[in-house]
Amino acid sequence: MTMKLRTPLGDEVLRLHAGDRVELSGTVYTARDEAHLRMKKEGVPFDPKGAAIYHCGPVVQNNRILAAGPTTSARMNKLSGFLLDLGVRALIGKGGMGRDVREQLRNRAVYLAFTGGCAALAASHMMLRGFFFKDLGMAEAVWVIELDSLPLVVGIDAQGNDIFETVRACANREFQRYRIPKG
């Protein structure tokens, strides 16, 4: 069953489980490395309470989002704590995040995965509403986007379950067969 979510998000995110499919509607804010650094230094230019951050650098032409798939979230591993402290309820991206973020999400927020590279599909669920920090350039600016039912998977839930970590642990075990015997 697919759960429907709408921003601003609240305690409903605490009930999600890693592996659940959700459809997200409402406002999301794109942010990559440079936007995180700017927000940390100068403050968040939107209300972070219940907000969803999308790790994405879209292609925008004539105030229209043409392509907006997720970027690698792990680059924001050390840059996300302050946003969660300010009340952000969902981080959206691809590839999962580090152990520190998993703990920072606990009892507060979730990490939602969108299929990497699916930029045209994402754009077909989006309307551009505005922007901040345009001086950072197209890829690094914060774009304000309205989503209509974007299909996502819960990658890390608020109980500390992490689908990426589970898969990684299995893959590491499988790789043991290549271990070179000592001596």
């Binding site: 650098g57 590279g117 754009a123 589970t166």
Partner: protein, 270 residues
């Protein structure tokens, strides 16, 4: 001729970033049909819907439209001059403005963005002799490029090749946007192995030889799956290119390519 080369470069980039080659689409369809993991099935369904949406809307299928890697074949009648490089760069600038492509190219140290996807040594242009003047583009996104690796293995440990390939995919996890295509360069020199690995990605993935199939099976045993969320399909294909090397060397390079294995070739006609 220069003008035609410029136009062909733009056309090849447009085709590459909007439409996946038929062999890649077939490989994704085969993977979706065979996949048993429900999360992976969902991810592969999103990928299939995305491929259709990009073609229908005429927009890039991924927002990371990559850096322009370009391969030219040059017939004997055309001298290799700086003008050829300039024409390709102009084609990249036009593609960036018109398709559009995301401006990805920056100075490596100042990180200043030229906003037109050109810069020192970019587009990366590789020239080989050929029958006709053709331009092949391989727009290369950063997620998969960043997890690519090279190793100088011991010649006495050929088994290390499979281990290194599998380890590369293990370390990449979901960051490379699996299911991936792996270009593996074996032999040559330190830099040559990397060149071979990238060239391997130009080959059709409809067929794999026994070594390629063995490496592909070994990678898929990891169970990393689409986007690193588990599943049967971690690699769509492995392609290998080899070159002779020093008797004391065994260079191995793995160039990782996300599922959006974009490439297109145009013959330049004038």
């Amino acid at each position: 001729m220069l003008r035609a080369l410029e136009m062909a470069t733009t056309d090849a980039l447009r085709e590459a970033v909007i439409r996946l080659p038929p062999d890649v689409k077939r490989a994704i369809e085969r993977a979706a049909a065979a996949e048993t993991n429900p999360v992976a099935k969902g991810e592969l369904a999103n990928i299939a819907r995305n491929i259709a949406a990009a073609e229908e809307l005429g927009v890039p299928l991924c927002q990371d439209t990559g850096v322009p890697v370009v391969y030219l074949t040059l017939p004997p009648s055309i001298p290799l001059t700086e003008n050829l490089y300039d024409a390709v760069a102009e084609g990249v600038r036009r593609a960036t403005a018109n398709i559009p492509l995301r401006p990805n190219v920056v100075d490596p140290l100042t990180r200043h963005n030229t906003n037109d996807n050109t810069g020192d040594g970019m587009p990366a242009i590789h020239v080989k002799p050929g029958e006709r003047l053709t331009v092949t583009v391989l727009p290369k996104g950063a997620g998969a490029e960043n997890v690519s690796r090279i190793a100088m293995l011991l010649p006495s440990e050929k088994d290390g090749i499979e281990r290194f390939v599998v380890e590369t995919v293990l370390l990449a996890g979901g960051k490379s946007c699996p299911p991936v295509v792996l270009g593996v360069g074996i032999g040559g020199t330190f830099d040559g192995a990397a060149t071979l690995a990238k060239e391997a990605l130009l080959q059709s993935i409809d067929h794999m030889d026994p070594l390629e199939q063995k490496l592909c099976n070994a990678v898929n045993c990891l169970g990393i799956g689409p986007m690193g969320m588990g599943g049967d399909t971690t690699a769509l294909a492995v392609k290998v290119k080899t070159a002779a090397c020093h008797t004391a060397s065994l260079p191995v390079a793995v160039n990782v390519q996300c599922w959006a294995c974009r490439r297109a070739t145009k013959e330049v006609v004038w």
